[in-house]
Subunit: 301 residues, 2 copies
């Protein structure tokens, strides 16, 4: 997964580099992608190709006991992955200065492991794609205009509604009027059982997204109420070792009235800016109602 992640960035940043006309893109964002291409991708690829992939499950298990929820707070997973990547780079003969540069770039951005957690979440959820009779959400995504979900038994059809507005805290110099609507694929972590599902065990994030520890327990409690099941691998030490929820059941969402909660970043409404804030948002209930109607229509026939 890490390798795919690095390769993905590599391909993307090559596209960017070949495009002389950067237009309205955010320069710091582009420079980050180029560093992924030039600094990290070759060094990580050599380490991973020579010494094999990294098992993410033990890293995620440890990270959840270290205050991560693996969406907006993947800090511990970033540190643990960094150590594994550096070990592989050094054993594979990556030149020490290059290994040190790649480690520094990866480890000093606490969100480095987010891309890995997103990819892992997508792979987990893809295992139920096409599963007949299942009412479990197999994908969630939003593009700043629409919020969409897919359901395991309903193929690749998206059930959409207008993208909601994130309630959150803004970085200095930005305000709610600058914000675009909810956007991005990181919500795959919530679909798999991470993110806001586990926010009660990630108190370090509350300073960033707003809310207090009592609210965090309520949010995690509501996510548990709409969960399809329990994880057999992941647990929450902050809730006395209770297993993490696994998957979202659209029947429970509609029955309880608890739309999934997402702790997320806020993008500017215009291109040319990075993240301008962080906050909490709920998936639109309309997506789940539409999906449940489609489920009933399919299996009533």
């Amino acid at each position: 997964v890490v390798e795919d992640h690095a390769t993905g960035f590599h391909a993307f940043s090559r596209l960017v580099e070949n495009n002389q006309q950067f237009g309205d893109y955010h320069e710091a964002g582009l420079s980050t992608l180029l560093k992924w291409q030039r600094v990290c991708a070759p060094a990580f690829s050599k380490g991973l190709q020579s010494r094999g992939g990294i098992r993410l499950r033990p890293i995620f298990e440890r990270a959840l006991a270290m205050g991560d929820e693996l969406h907006n707070r993947p800090h511990a997973a970033t540190a643990l992955l960094s150590i594994e990547l550096t070990d592989r780079m050094l054993r594979a003969g990556v030149e020490p200065d290059r290994a040190a540069d790649a480690q520094l770039f990866f480890s000093s951005n606490p969100f480095s492991a987010l891309g890995v957690a997103m990819a892992a979440s997508k792979l987990m959820a893809d295992r139920i794609r096409g599963l007949e009779y299942s009412t479990v959400v197999s994908a969630m995504a939003r593009n700043g205009t629409e919020f969409g979900i897919r359901v395991a038994s309903l193929g690749d059809q998206w059930f959409t509604a207008p993208s909601p507005r994130v309630e959150g805290r803004y970085l200095p110099g930005f305000k709610a009027a600058d914000a675009g609507l909810d956007m991005g694929d990181s919500v795959m972590t919530e679909a798999a059982g991470f993110g806001a599902n586990l926010i009660a065990g990630a108190p370090g994030i509350l300073r960033v997204v707003g809310g207090n520890s009592t609210q965090a327990k309520e949010w995690s409690g509501q996510m548990r109420a709409i969960a399809a099941g329990n994880s057999t691998h992941y647990s929450m030490p902050a809730l006395d070792g209770k297993p993490a929820p696994l998957g979202i059941d659209i029947r429970e969402v509609v029955a309880t009235g608890f739309a999934p909660i997402i702790d997320t970043s806020i993008a500017h409404r215009e291109p040319g800016y990075g993240i301008i804030g962080n906050g909490m948002v709920r998936a639109p209930m309309e997506c789940f109602e539409k999906a449940l109607q489609a489920f009933e229509a399919k299996y009533a026939a």
Copy 2:
């Protein structure tokens, strides 16, 4: 501090190596010391001497938001320190295989940062040694026979009582009857404001020492009640960003009846074994009563 830590192990392990007669010592323990000497000490020393020391405060700040209490759970600090040490080793020209071996040895033992936290705690507490009129504890230690405390205004005098028995959970094959009495210098972390002071923010430790999240909040609450003040650097995200307590005031201990709580490891009563369990213990109230009497005697005169 890291350098002193490595150097200390270096000196100790040299003594061990020159002693052909190991007697009843624990072989795995000796082999660990020799690895510190042969693998870590030269590589870390080269990195630190060439590139300078590591500022611990930012690492500890981050670690406390990652579920560490820096005594029995220094896992995040170990990962963060490991990344810093590896960066220095690589920039200083330590041979890649040796740097990888040192990183592996350091990072794969989650308690590697405990020695660093102990040394940092001792340095913090040493700043109040000899401070006239202060009733704040300047040192705590136990040797398996006696538990002792020092108080800032009362010089280097130890106020002692018999070492208590730790209530805890045992590793497979061991039971309470095998346990020695409370032992070790790691209780310096509690004296400085870490350890059981912060256990409400380190839920991952409860599986190891026993107890649940409600008890952990009670323990941290009692430690706060006997604290001399608030840390201006460290805070507890699990308690909505409340500052960490700083120091223990013997007057508050005697007035509240809350003897300091320690989350600690349990040693075997006989030499030749490693850690056989973990648990919670309270410092003997007698130490604090004796110290307060000595304080009154000194300043009444």
